[in-house]
């Protein structure tokens, strides 16, 4: 049985449609226009135990909403979900003891107190055995090398240090399922890398199941084999990271190194020219046309070196998001 099973899960919000200006604000006092926003539209998903899955999608695509539904923080409009056999929004203590949610943009530690005071509270709320608690805390602080920061008020920590503390708080009760909502947002490259390394190690050691949302392709590439692309509340792709390119990019990048003295004139007849910086030329062409085009070019030009590449992942994803944004439509009702 899959550890996470989602069927036909939907969540829509009714939001007050505000118009510009004072007069419409006054009209809005008694007659309001509401808009139905479908944050998540009939999602189906199965995740097996031990998987590390990334949710990719532009802002407002429904990634965070999905994680909140799975955490039981909000109720769905329709559909079902089970995590380890529990219905999340029933909020049973048993379920809540077995998973954790970390949000990069919100913090749960007591702001004015040292993190260790919040950890102590977690120990009591989750009823962690004192010996076990000490052991886990020592292990986590060691892995994240924040041991000497435990006694410092949280508000005096840097963003990266605070994020590490948030992670520790979430992992103290050794959750079997972990939801990470943009855990590296706003962090510098070093801090990002540290957290990536930690997550990778921790997940491999414990074989826990993790769902991650992130805008950083580096996070995703470093951590997740499986990628789920969500746009406008619906799943557009579910598979491997490289598969995203196969599916969503019809083009290939062709890099040519022209021989000395060879002009680049006329190359635009074969393919779209991305850049010319003699003797280097970069062309973009449709995937299926590569062999034919390459042989024509090789016949007509003096070429020193050739490389055929996939377009950069970030670019593919960006195109995918843009594409999705332009054909997304939300129902407007009066």
């Amino acid at each position: 049985m899959a550890i996470i099973e989602i069927e036909q899960l939907s969540k829509s919000y009714r939001v007050y449609q505000k118009r510009e200006g004072l007069s419409s604000a006054i009209r809005g006092l008694w007659r309001r226009q509401y808009r139905e926003v479908d944050a998540v539209r009939s999602i189906d998903l199965r995740v097996e135990q031990g998987e590390f899955v990334a949710f990719l999608g532009p802002n407002g695509a429904g990634k965070t909403t999905t994680l909140k539904l799975l955490s039981g923080v909000i109720y769905p409009t329709s559909g079902t979900a089970r995590v380890m056999g529990y219905v999340p929004w029933e909020r049973s203590n048993e379920y809540r003891r077995r998973f954790a949610l970390v949000m990069g943009q919100k913090n749960q530690l007591w702001w004015d107190l040292p993190a260790q005071e919040s950890f102590r509270l977690h120990q009591q709320i989750y009823r962690i055995e004192l010996e076990q608690f000490k052991k886990t805390l020592a292990e986590l602080t060691d892995l994240l090398s924040v041991g000497e920061l435990l006694g410092r008020p949280v508000r005096e920590l840097s963003l990266g240090e605070r994020m590490k503390m948030e992670l520790i708080a979430a992992l103290l009760h050794s959750p079997e399922v972990l939801f990470l909502d943009e855990p590296t947002i706003g962090l510098d490259v070093v801090a990002q890398h540290n957290i990536q390394q930690f997550l990778k190690y921790y997940q491999q050691q414990r074989q826990i199941t993790i769902l991650l949302t992130s805008h950083y392709m580096k996070d995703v590439a470093a951590l997740c084999r499986r990628v789920v692309v969500i746009t406008s509340g619906a799943i557009k792709y579910d598979g491997s990271l490289v598969g995203v390119i196969d599916k969503f990019s019809g083009s290939k990048i062709l890099r040519l190194l022209l021989a000395a003295g060879q002009s680049s004139d006329g190359l635009e007849r074969f393919a779209e020219v991305e850049s010319i910086d003699l003797p280097k030329v970069v062309l973009r062409c449709r995937r299926g046309e590569i062999p034919k085009m390459l042989s024509s070019i090789l016949q007509q030009y003096q070429i020193e070196d050739v490389a055929v590449e996939d377009p950069p992942l970030e670019q593919v994803i960006a195109n995918l998001f843009e594409h999705a944004a332009s054909d997304s439509s939300n129902q407007v009702s009066l």
Partner: protein, 289 residues
């Protein structure tokens, strides 16, 4: 694997002790603020007493033949302070924070914890500086009672059962106010923001600050009815204060009925607050991150 029932729930008393401890550390951290808050509430208390001393320069009794003369009324005032200070120390900071948690989406974390959400939200913070007012209420109470017991005409004795009943009804009063506050705070889930919480709270609880006899004539009667039965804030201070400020016997049957009603109202308000809280949580939308 089935976890034993006893392990499912955290030890609520222990968790509350940690909340109280963390709040104390936090309060102490902002030392000057802590001292200033204590001083400001103490001076407010003194001014309040001064005001009633002036009132009693002009009259001997609040209302005619109501039995609320100066020292009886000081017992009433002491009870008011005691109950309000307890509410302010334990619940006021949490109710304010609750609104904020909803607006910022911080309630998410409260909902994740394997502990009763209403408990977590209601007891997270303790405002230790308000406990100075508890002390002040007790002093006022002792002052009033000692005068009643020691006066030359009609000195009266307090029976042991009174000492037992008084804390019980103070507890009831605190519980009713807590429930009311929780209901008010929970409305912020639907309203998105509820800044009038404080105002509304002040308007309503203002009625609880005076002996109920003053409402029991003329157009005061509807007010008396509303604030006894619909929103039972009138019994909050009146019932315990009356218990201590007047001899236990003789009492009219209606007073015993009111005391019994207070117990009922306490349970009903607590259940109502739980119901409203649960309903509100169902509508929680969680601010976007």
């Amino acid at each position: 694997m089935k976890i034993a029932k006893s392990v499912e729930h955290p030890n609520y008393i222990q968790v509350f002790a940690t909340f109280a401890k963390n709040s104390l550390i936090r309060n102490m951290m902002f030392r000057t603020n802590f001292v200033l808050e204590s001083i400001s509430s103490a001076s407010w208390a003194l001014m309040n007493v001064g005001f009633y001393l002036i009132v009693f320069e002009h009259t001997n009794s609040i209302g005619r033949d109501t039995g609320w003369e100066k020292y009886e009324f000081f017992v009433f005032l002491g009870t008011t302070w005691l109950i309000n200070a307890i509410v302010q120390a334990f619940f006021m900071p949490n109710a304010e924070e609750f609104s904020e948690l909803i607006r910022t989406g911080g309630l998410d974390f409260a909902l994740l914890k394997p502990i009763d959400t209403q408990f977590l939200v209601s007891f997270r913070k303790v405002e230790w500086s308000s406990l100075a007012n508890v002390l002040f209420g007790l002093v006022l109470l002792a002052y009033g009672v000692s005068h009643l017991v020691g006066r030359s005409t009609h000195p009266w004795q307090i029976e042991p059962i009174t000492w037992l009943l008084y804390p019980v009804f103070v507890f009831c009063g605190v519980t009713i106010l807590y429930s009311l506050m929780t209901c008010l705070a929970a409305t912020s889930i639907w309203l998105g923001r509820n800044q009038t919480l404080y105002d509304f709270w002040f308007y309503i609880t203002n009625f609880s600050r005076y002996p109920s006899e003053i409402y029991e004539t003329g157009w005061g009667l509807p007010l008396w009815g509303i604030f006894t039965f619909a929103i039972p804030v009138l019994v909050v201070v009146n019932v315990p204060a009356r218990l201590l400020a007047q001899p236990l016997t003789p009492r009219s049957p209606s007073e015993w009925a009111l005391a019994a009603y207070t117990l009922l109202a306490t349970v009903a308000s607590l259940l109502a607050s739980r119901w409203v809280f649960q309903r509100a949580l169902r509508s929680y939308r969680s601010a976007s991150s």
